[in-house]
Symmetry: C2
Subunit: 190 residues, 2 copies
């Protein structure tokens, strides 16, 4: 048996995503970005994602007013911008401008996608739950935008070429080596 | 502007965790494991996690009957076992036995932790939400068990030494290079 140290509860799940959440609509609610690591897929069909935000954050009002947001998956080369967009408030800073990121309207939502991110998930809020320090928003993913140059001849997004960023225990990390494909444990035995 | 391909909604968030969820209590409800990639942190204080499971899965009844589960973060070397525990049903297979994994009761919950995993989060269900193909369970993380040998002299868990497993777009991956620490974008400028 491995010797274990027992701690009080904490948020040590890893790896988790490190995403730029886009909100606002560019008209009555200006575009904003907020960096979120507290995000996860919560349903396959229809596809749904959870994103958790502190209620005092500026983005909260934008998401609740418009009922829309985007989840933009950044690359390792964007790590400093991703971190920065979690450090400053959209109340004071136009983060798209300050971080030199390009806002484009979604195809199905008015919330902006980040053009520099190889993957963008367009979401409509279907549930929200006040949990404590954070409000969890569950969004249905109504469209996905992917960099065309990363889609191979079979129509598959080449995630390894995308060099996406993740997060674990207070630091940002790239992805490492592939360890197997879904189902490989039983295919091997056939 | 990057050329984008627009798809219908999908679950392309990445990276996401690839965890073994432990359930049952070893007495009236036998221990079971289920592999889950649809998991994420949803609140910092109190610490909470979401785990989504298809309602037809055997683990659903165990989690709903006991109100408890654990989230065990595996290593890259465990990838085949992790995959296997997502491929077979606890209705037919004792997965701890079949995958040669060691069940240990939690410190605060009766659900089993996986001794071979360097991190185990002990959870009590506080919300559940039927979403479509999946039910999302929100658990408060009431304790964490970490391999003592991975905790350094400062009391920090050395995640890079733990070689943990993640998941992205249908494959399992290790973690890559560190790209920065939380807050590095503003520290640099000071």
């Amino acid at each position: 048996m491995a010797r274990k140290t027992i701690w009080q509860g904490g948020t040590q799940l890893a790896p988790v995503p490190a995403v730029l959440v886009g909100c606002g609509n560019g008209t009555d609610f200006k575009y904003n970005l907020i960096t979120v690591a507290w995000a996860g897929i919560v349903c396959s069909n229809p596809p749904m994602i959870s994103v958790s935000i502190r209620p005092e954050r500026y983005s909260r009002g934008l998401i609740e007013s418009t009922g829309e947001f985007t989840v933009n998956v950044p690359t390792v080369s964007m790590a400093e911008k991703v971190d920065y967009c979690g450090m400053v408030s959209g109340r004071n800073v136009d983060k798209f401008n300050a971080a030199n990121l390009t806002a484009k309207p979604g195809s199905k939502v008015a919330a902006p996608i980040v053009d520099e991110c190889p993957l963008a998930l367009e979401c409509r809020v279907v549930h929200s739950l006040k949990l404590g320090s954070h409000i969890m928003y569950v969004g249905e993913i109504v469209a996905v935008q992917a960099d065309s140059e990363l889609i191979n001849a079979k129509g598959k997004f080449e995630i390894e070429k995308a060099d996406i960023l993740g997060y674990a225990h207070g630091s940002y990390y790239g992805m490492g080596e592939k360890a197997g494909d879904f189902g490989f444990s039983v295919k091997k035995k056939n």
